[in-house]
């Protein structure tokens, strides 16, 4: 098997990892808001930061895969 055949599979694995992480966060946030609806704003504010960092991980993986395929 050629090396470049495995590169998109690696990207898929990274994206699966990021999607699992983000969905866990969203589920935990939804459950926390369901327990205490008054704290909805605070919980959303706290959850946003790790959410965007995780999304950044997936985007960084895409960029590196692109570079690996081009260079």
């Amino acid at each position: 098997m050629d090396g470049t055949l495995l590169v998109p599979i690696g990207l898929g694995i990274v994206v699966i990892g990021a999607a699992l992480g983000i969905s866990k966060f969203a589920a935990a946030a939804a459950e926390a808001i369901a327990r205490q609806p008054e704290a909805a704003d605070k919980i959303s504010g706290v959850v946003q930061l790790p959410l965007f960092l995780l999304e950044g991980v997936a985007i960084l993986a895409e960029v590196f895969i692109f570079l690996m395929l081009i260079l």
Partner: protein, 305 residues
């Protein structure tokens, strides 16, 4: 984009599509710039497509944001147009939701102007990239004006550009964040204590051997992630739209022209839907860059490990 190229080469469509998409989102060639400028210290300062878009965005932001605010302030708050009310809403949003919780009430007035600059510049740069100015000029040029292939108009072409889609632009913005973090920490704690605050105190000494290189790497990885996040989000959205639209040409060549036209009924609504998604991404990415800069500056000011 494909219509703007008056290409009669004998390459197949499949071979032309990839380079076409890449030309659309990347910078124009430095050897054929739009305005030729001299080189200082070995760096060629000629104006290419992305630089022109940068200047355009800066010009538009200053006219649209700075001038109405000055007019409102100089009339002592009497004449408030709707547009200034909208700007005031955004300013309050950035100050209360992004700056104040992260930086702390003592430093809000120091750092909010920087975050507002980030927010407005990135919002306008991303948004202007969604407007297909250069595609429209290209169509006009191809069918109406028919200038030759190295004229100024043709140099401007090959696609409308998102200024923040170029990772050098976002690297410049992230460099501002990098130095802001250092300046914020030095202003609050003094020069040596800021660097001492990089690691938590009171740990056993073998932990520091691992922790200090990790924290030093983190210093550089955080702005690097900021650059790549913004640039890749902007470029990726445009590439997705272009790939969908190129599907028509590819299917038209592989099967028949009628099949290509049939695919258009799927491809163009999908491209419109993804453009709508792009508008959400434009807003979110401006917000995320500003929020993360505020969080990093706040982490340098209120050190809590």
């Amino acid at each position: 984009m494909v219509a703007a190229n008056s290409s009669h080469s004998n390459q197949t469509v499949l071979e032309q599509v990839g380079p076409n998409i890449i030309h659309h989102v990347s910078n124009s060639d430095i050897t054929h710039p739009i305005i030729q400028l001299p080189s200082f210290f070995g760096i060629d300062f000629s104006v290419t497509k992305h630089v022109l878009m940068l200047w355009l965005v800066a010009f538009i932001v200053s006219i649209v944001v700075i001038l109405p605010i000055r007019k409102y302030l100089s009339s002592n708050g009497k004449k408030k147009s709707n547009w200034v009310s909208l700007i005031e809403y955004i300013v309050e949003f950035v100050k209360d939701t992004i700056a104040a919780p992260n930086v702390g009430p003592n430093w809000v007035m120091t750092w909010t102007p920087l975050f507002l600059t980030f927010f407005f510049f990135i919002l306008f740069a991303n948004g202007i990239g969604m407007i297909p100015i250069f595609d429209t000029i290209g169509l006009l040029d191809r069918f109406l004006l028919k200038t030759d292939s190295h004229s100024t108009i043709n140099n401007l072409l090959h696609g409308g550009v998102t200024a923040t889609g170029n990772f050098n632009v976002t690297a410049g913005l992230a460099a501002v964040t990098f130095f802001s973090i250092i300046i914020a920490g030095v202003k609050k704690h003094g020069f040596i204590k800021h660097w001492a605050n990089l690691v938590p105190h009171g740990l056993a000494w073998p932990v520091y051997i691992i922790l200090i290189p990790i924290e030093l790497m983190g210093l550089f990885v955080k702005p690097f992630a900021l650059t790549m996040r913004l640039a890749a989000n902007m470029t990726g959205g445009h590439i997705a739209i272009l790939a969908l639209l190129s599907l028509m040409a590819i299917i038209g060549e592989m099967f028949s022209a009628a099949a290509g036209i049939g695919v258009a009924f799927v491809s163009i609504p999908m491209a419109a839907a993804i453009s709508g998604l792009e508008i959400i991404v434009v807003l979110v990415q401006a917000y995320v860059f500003t929020l993360l800069s505020a969080v990093f500056v706040g982490m340098a000011i209120n050190v809590h490990h």
